[in-house]
């Protein structure tokens, strides 16, 4: 069985897409990284992007969030064209983004970090704060502690908690398992599963490709700025070509 070759029209066949990029070209300054990327994330869907280093996985997320130079194509979110909007505007649309590193405010307390997550609201949403503290009890225990003094795993939870403060429809996670001790990686994936089960769509970039594909609904394999394969996570895992080329056999 072979992974389906991605066509530019495939995204258009579905109408219930939350996020859709069509023929997206983007990069930094003059340097183009993405070359005609077509991706979609449905409501409450869990999608991962895997691929070799330098393929532009993180750039996809940054481009969706308005952090790169837009060079062509469109991004729609919940039926609205958000191509090349500023991050300050995109955050209002119901999408949150957790960068790979430096994703907490080190010198602010845990509680202040979460408050910043809800900056665009008039007041701190107490109910949502409760939800996040229930999901990550360690954050409540350490709420007066400076984020910079937390362990790597706790910082990752805080970064997710911060992104969840607006109760987004889509959560974009860039390498959530990076830098975590091996025994914490599984726990992190469990937490992401449960966030997804609670109704938030996930778009995730992961280096830990096998585990990510095992967990997700659907996956993309990105190579040299183009999406080469798209299929359900299990199908990609079992695809001989994908295994040989990108998953180390």
């Amino acid at each position: 069985m072979s992974g389906s070759q991605q066509g530019a029209t495939q995204g258009a066949e579905r109408t219930d897409d939350l996020l859709e990029t069509r023929d997206l070209d983007a990069g930094y300054g003059d340097l183009q990284i993405l070359d005609g990327v077509d991706m979609r994330v449905g409501d409450e869907e869990y999608v991962t992007i895997v691929g070799p280093n330098g393929a532009g996985k993180s750039t996809v997320m940054k481009s969706v969030f308005g952090l790169t130079t837009h060079m062509g194509g469109t991004v729609t979110f919940a039926g609205e064209d958000i191509t090349a909007l500023n991050p300050e505007d995109i955050i209002h649309k119901g999408m949150s983004y957790v960068p790979q590193s430096d994703n907490v405010f080190d010198t602010l307390t845990v509680e202040e970090n979460l408050e910043m997550g809800a900056y665009i609201l008039d007041s701190v949403p107490e109910e949502q704060l409760r939800v996040i503290y229930d999901r990550f009890p360690i954050l409540e225990e350490r709420k007066t502690q400076k984020a910079g003094t937390l362990s790597g795993g706790q910082q990752q939870m805080l970064a997710m908690g911060r992104a969840l403060m607006l109760d987004p429809d889509l959560l974009m996670l860039d390498e959530p398992s990076a830098g975590l001790a091996p025994d914490l990686v599984d726990e992190m994936f469990d937490r992401i599963d449960s966030i997804n089960e609670a109704g938030t769509a996930i778009l995730m970039v992961e280096q830990n490709a096998k585990e990510a594909l095992r967990r997700c609904d659907r996956g993309y394999v990105l190579v040299q700025g183009q999406n080469r394969y798209e299929d359900s996570g299990d199908a990609l895992l079992n695809d001989e070509e994908v295994r040989q080329e990108f998953l180390g056999g």
């Binding site: 405010f105 010198t107 602010l108």
Partner: protein, 365 residues
């Protein structure tokens, strides 16, 4: 066992950081010498107390001005060499307002506006004309903020993505432009501002008295209140927290939805407001000012900010007070001409032995 460990640790310190040991030894010797001088009566305790008080007064001004420099550094990423001239702008605009309030009727508007009226005729002291002092302080703050925002719009905003060095060089240009704009309007002469008897108290400290006058008291109270205000603003208000968040991590602030342009405007607003008030207050304490007022203080302000840990506003406050006190305390051993050197020596020592500054890494938190 404990003694052996202490010995081993001591030996390690001497071999690894001999400079630190020498400097610490000199500090201990100076302290012992101070004790000796006090015991033999060569230096009075009240003299030392007087130095500490004077140092604190100057130090608070330096610290107040340093907050803005530190904020600009951490949020806009450049060392602002025009910051000293914001003090000058504050001093001149504020004192113009004070003269207008206090001197209306005694001199012509033109004389008052250009500060050409005789200080003796106007007779401003904090107790004789308190309203003019308050008005002057408010105008100093407001005018400096307006000018800083205007300069940001004209100069720094178009350069937002430029590197720190380009911005630094641009700020030197701004510094010169501001200073000579002041010269253009007010001229280059050093001018007296206050006149009349300033009420003083002279509390006894062990073996003598120190003098605290009403202008120093005004300065200390205003500076401490402004510092408390900025502390509460940064720690308790949502926007203050957003400022700290942005000084910590600009990229993350952006994806969190913090309005970065507005934070930058507030950085100017707070930094310039404090600089303007510092300029006004130092002129009140000295009773005179010239167009070089802020430029001359700028190096001390930089020293304070670097000493405290650049980017940290608490470091700037503490650094300012340390610089002020060291400079004055050095008078125990050194002639006045060398006191400035002592202040910079402390800065150099801190940079050598703790390059990140006293509060380095703590940032505005």
């Amino acid at each position: 066992m404990g003694a052996t460990q202490a010995y081993i640790r001591g030996r390690k310190l001497i071999t690894e950081r001999p400079g630190l040991v020498v400097v610490s030894a000199i500090a201990v010797l100076l302290f012992l010498d101070l004790v000796r001088r006090i015991l033999t009566g060569a230096t009075l305790i009240s003299t030392v107390a007087g130095y500490v008080w004077n140092g604190t007064v100057i130090g608070l001004i330096i610290g107040l001005a340093g907050i803005g420099l530190s904020l600009t550094y951490s949020i806009l990423n450049f060392a602002n060499f025009s910051h000293g001239d914001y003090l000058t702008v504050g001093a001149f605009s504020g004192w113009t307002a004070s003269y207008l309030v206090a001197g209306l009727g005694t001199a012509t508007i033109g004389e008052l506006f250009l500060l050409n009226a005789s200080p003796r005729d106007i007779g401003i002291t904090a107790t004789a004309e308190p309203l003019s002092i308050v008005a002057g302080l408010v105008v100093a703050i407001v005018m400096t903020i307006l000018i800083a925002l205007l300069i940001d719009r004209l100069v720094y905003e178009p350069m937002r993505d430029a590197g720190g060095i380009s911005l630094l060089i641009a700020s030197i240009g701004v510094a010169l432009a501001l200073r000579y704009f002041v010269v253009f309007v007010y001229g280059t002469s050093l001018r007296g501002l206050t006149a009349g008897d300033v009420p003083k108290v002279s509390p006894t400290i062990v073996d003598g008295t120190i003098t605290i006058d009403a202008h120093e008291a005004t300065l200390v109270v205003s500076a401490v209140l402004l510092m408390l205000g900025i502390h509460v603003f940064l720690q308790q208000t949502k926007f203050g927290k957003a400022m700290r968040a942005m000084s910590d991590n600009k990229d993350l602030a952006r994806v969190t939805g913090i309005p970065t342009e507005r934070v930058i405007q507030w950085t100017w607003l707070l930094g310039a407001g404090l600089a303007g008030s510092a300029g006004y207050l130092i002129a009140l304490k000295r009773g005179s000012m010239g167009f070089n007022l802020g430029w001359v203080l700028l190096l001390l302000i930089f020293a304070a900010v670097i000493l405290g840990g650049i980017g940290s506003i608490y470091g700037a406050m503490i650094g300012g007070v340390i610089i002020g006190i060291v400079r004055n305390l050095s008078l125990v051993w050194l002639p006045t001409d060398f006191s400035l050197a002592a202040a910079f020596l402390i800065m150099i020592l801190i940079l050598l032995f703790r390059p990140e500054g006293i509060f380095g890494g703590v940032k505005t938190a």
